[in-house]
């Protein structure tokens, strides 16, 4: 599962591996509470950002199950670092992958994640031959839910009060898409009207 060439280019973005020198840029958004909420391994201090970038810059391919590929989202027009997207190969026999993402809140709402995640779905299905890609997000994160539906992902799970997060009841949503569904849509869908965003799990 190698042979990837970086950067991966989309209309407005260059997706490329992290570099040590990215620490300063990453610190600008990484420690914001809104960003921390969705991280697998939360961090609090600047040293943690160092450690985090160190981990991410080594995540450059999927050699074996359990590996993660993490790419920085760099805006082509001015080289600004907007956040990152990553693909985690969670299960080899059943071909499962998980997408995660972080965006600097200052740059959200411009469709950058839609662009980057579409490229990651292409990569997951066409290059890595993954069968199903899923995303987990906070049940109250309407932005993510909207984004997932725009990408054609289906709401597969909506857990309520299934766990505690920092002393409060958590709510979690899972979205998923199969390889054949992505091939069939392949284009980013028009947005659903607002009232259809929180459909019941079918």
């Amino acid at each position: 599962m190698s042979g990837l060439k970086f950067p991966i280019s989309t209309k407005r973005l260059a997706l490329r591996p992290f570099d040590r020198s990215d620490v300063a840029l990453v610190s600008r958004y990484h420690l914001l509470p809104g960003v921390q909420r969705y991280l697998a391994r939360p961090s609090r201090y600047n040293e943690d950002v160092n450690a985090c970038v160190d981990i991410m810059r080594n995540q450059i391919g999927l050699q074996r199950p359990g590996d993660t590929l993490t790419l920085a989202m760099q805006r082509k027009s001015d080289n600004a670092l907007l956040g990152h997207v990553s693909l985690h190969w969670s299960d080899a026999t059943a071909g499962q992958g998980e997408l995660r993402f972080v965006i600097d809140p200052a740059h959200s709402g411009n469709g950058f994640l839609t662009e980057a995640l579409s490229a990651m779905l292409d990569l997951a299905f066409d290059h890595f031959r993954i069968h199903r890609v899923f995303v987990r997000c906070d049940g109250r994160n309407h932005h993510s839910a909207k984004l997932m539906q725009k990408l054609g992902m289906r709401l597969e799970a909506h857990y309520r009060e299934h766990a505690l997060f920092q002393g409060e009841w958590d709510e979690e949503m899972h979205f998923a898409i199969l390889d054949r569904e992505w091939q069939a849509s392949n284009k980013v869908r028009p947005m659903l009207p607002r009232d259809r965003l929180h459909e019941r799990v079918a």
Binding site: H158, H162, H174
Partner: protein, 186 residues
């Protein structure tokens, strides 16, 4: 925090009680069947495997730590015969989560026994063990199991498609759940 229920638990038609060594044959009678095992994680069990399972279940009657299971024999009061089994697993101590499960002899299905036994076990979980949320899982094709979940007032929280392989095929799974406060108002 340990929880040691009082047994037996008696409902109008049933008695839920700990397993005893004498239950091996009655359990083998349904756990050996292909139709019963169709959507279960375990394949049909031999008599020896049943004996081993019962050996473990004799002690599975209390919650002491996360991961503990309560597995109970369900007996028809009228004829004092074993008709199935119920389980409740303590999945999380801090978030007070439990998972419920059921297996009945096909001969005794279709009479509402599973519903009756499940209601008693939900009461045990919510009131006795102080659980906050109880969930159940099943294969999407296991209609009698998810219809039972709906009868119990559980909500469908997940419908996973092709998220794993089960017995060599793509798996499709439902997860249903019920919160303590929803159970009370039911």
């Amino acid at each position: 925090m340990s929880y040691l229920p009082d047994y037996p638990i008696v409902t109008p038609r049933l008695r839920l009680r700990p397993f005893t060594r004498g239950d091996v044959d009655a359990v083998h009678e349904y756990r050996c069947r292909e139709d019963v095992a169709l959507y279960l994680f375990d394949p049909p069990l031999s008599r020896e495997e049943c004996a081993l399972a019962i050996h473990q279940r004799v002690l599975q009657t209390e919650f002491h730590q996360e991961g503990d299971k309560i597995v109970l024999a369900v007996e028809e009061v009228e004829r004092a015969r074993l008709v199935g089994e119920m389980s409740l697993v303590w999945r999380s101590a801090d978030a007070r989560q439990g998972e419920i499960g059921w297996i009945f002899h096909p001969m005794h299905q279709g009479r509402g026994y599973a519903t009756e036994a499940a209601r008693a076990l939900l009461a045990l979980g919510f009131e006795g063990a102080g659980l906050h949320r109880i969930f159940a899982r099943c294969d999407a094709r296991n209609t009698s199991s998810w219809r039972l979940m709906e009868r119990l007032g559980m909500r469908r929280e997940a419908h996973f498609r092709e998220h794993a392989l089960f017995k060599g095929e793509w798996d499709e799974e439902f997860i249903y759940a019920l919160l303590h406060r929803e159970w009370r108002t039911e």
